[in-house]
């Protein structure tokens, strides 16, 4: 091992105050040194709420993917999902940090950091779409949900890369490259299963029918987005592109477009309003129990 290689490993293994790897472990601010001032004319409270929406989608979806670790049929697929989950977690960290800075600009408080936002909010304060929190029952549901989510998020982030908020635009432009890989990965599996055996085709079609009701939320216009013209992307704009992608993949997979009806909002409210499905409470309990039990723990 050369001196340089040794130094790299030493730096990975080094123990020091600001040099640890998990919750409460001195992570540096993911937006350190980046100008996060709120663009002129933008409502900082709305910007904070918008960043929370997109950050929560990534955080919660990433957690669902992490739950598949050690349960995948092959090491290659497990590695793929771990990488996809890591990309989304990275996007979540930047978006939650951006939300906290915008919160500070809105005042009167100092704004929360990424850990406060991820671990110390309750269920009704999360703004993720209900699709992100769904637990996949099997591999077909996993790849079907990933295809719909990543096709939608890619369409969203590729538009957001032109946002009038340079921080959101930069986060989105990075995400586009990552999501392009995620969507291709999911599409290839949907095709392999759909255009596979009668059994795999049947399971893939059934999985899409089960997931489809949650896709309706993805294109619903919301008041936060409407309050940020030029900065946020109207979800209604995304339907055409997502439909086209799904159509192309389903045709190649010899699958039919799912026909199940969209899941209704609850008293007009969905995940974007803090109203979630029953599964979400369990997910959040797992995600948050350690930091809540030991709020100042480091390791």
């Amino acid at each position: 091992m050369s001196e340089d290689e040794f130094a790299a490993y030493q730096s990975l293994a080094q123990e020091s105050e600001d040099h640890r790897w998990a919750f409460g472990t001195g992570f540096t601010d993911p937006l350190e040194g980046i100008d996060t001032s709120v663009p002129a004319g933008a409502d900082p409270a709305a910007l904070a709420a918008y960043c929370l929406m997109l950050g929560d989608d990534a955080l919660i979806y990433s957690h669902r993917l992490q739950q598949w670790m050690t349960r995948m049929p092959e090491l290659e697929e497990e590695t793929a999902l771990a990488n996809i989950a890591l990309d989304l977690l990275g996007q979540a960290r930047m978006l939650l940090a951006r939300a906290g800075r915008a919160e500070a600009a809105a005042g009167p408080g100092p704004g929360r950091d990424e850990d406060r936002l991820a671990f110390f909010r309750d269920e009704h304060e999360f703004r993720n779409v209900r699709l992100a929190e769904r637990a996949d029952a099997d591999f077909a549901e996993l790849v079907g949900r990933l295809l719909i989510f990543s096709a939608w998020r890619l369409a969203l982030l590729s538009r957001l890369a032109g946002s009038a908020d340079p921080v959101l635009a930069a986060i989105a432009a990075k995400g586009v490259k990552e999501l392009t890989y995620h969507r291709d990965y999911a599409a290839q599996w949907v095709i392999r299963l759909g255009d596979g055996t009668a059994l795999s085709r049947g399971k893939m079609q059934a999985a899409l029918e089960i997931i489809w009701p949650l896709a309706g939320d993805l294109f619903r216009t919301d008041p936060v987005t409407a309050a940020l013209p030029g900065i946020a992307v109207d979800p209604a704009e995304l339907r055409g592109e997502v439909d086209e992608v799904l159509h192309a993949v389903l045709a190649e997979a010899t699958l039919e477009r799912p026909r199940s009806a969209p899941m209704a909002p609850v008293s007009g409210r969905t995940g974007r309003d803090g109203v979630h499905t029953e599964a979400f409470g369990y997910l959040l309990a797992e995600l948050q129990s350690l930091p809540r039990a030991h709020p100042d723990a480091t390791w």
């Binding site: 290689e5 790299a8 540096t28 340079p166 890989y181 291709d184 592109e241 192309a248």
Partner: protein, 169 residues
């Protein structure tokens, strides 16, 4: 006070910092190191993440601070820059040669961003990735992801060696 020749020396120290996950190449080879400058007499280093969740970034920042301080350039400020987003096209020819020598196929030119929807790769053809061991173009992707966010897994059908490919993004 760091100026002129001092800054050149600081740049050399920063450029020599190895990537923690790919220690055969430096942060300069990979294009992660964006700038070394001076502000009010202090060294300011700017780096950019390869992937949003890349856990190596803070190790790199730590190593930069450590080495520059050890070389007499402390205190050092390390900044992150997100825009423009890192592209594998920033890997230098020297970096690509070092990757290949270590058995990792360097990336093809990244797909240039085009206006409009991002096309599905399965509907376009991917260029063949030549085997870094024997040079054969008869290779197969075995997994789109690998042990780190920046790589995919391949197998050479000629020499039968498995190898990694640094993804073009």
């Amino acid at each position: 006070m760091v100026t002129g020749t001092g800054l050149v020396a600081a740049r050399e120290v920063a450029a020599a910092v190895p990537d923690p996950e790919l220690p055969m190449v430096t942060v300069a080879d990979l294009g992660i190191l964006r700038d070394v400058s001076e502000e009010s007499g202090q060294v300011v280093v700017t780096i950019t993440p390869t992937y949003s969740g890349c856990p190596a970034l803070r190790e790199i920042a730590q190593d930069l601070r450590h080495r520059l301080t050890a070389a007499g350039f402390g205190p050092v400020t390390v900044r992150t820059s997100l825009s423009p987003a890192w592209t594998s096209d920033w890997i230098s020819p020297a970096g690509a040669a070092k990757l290949r020598a270590a058995g990792i196929a360097p990336p093809h030119a990244a797909r240039a961003p085009r206006p409009g929807p991002v096309p599905l790769t399965l509907l376009t053809s991917r260029p063949a990735v030549p085997c870094p061991v024997c040079g054969s173009s008869d290779t197969t992707q075995t997994a789109a992801f690998s042990a780190t966010a920046c790589k995919a897994l391949y197998r050479c059908e000629s020499c039968r060696e498995p190898f990694e490919y640094l993804k073009d993004i």
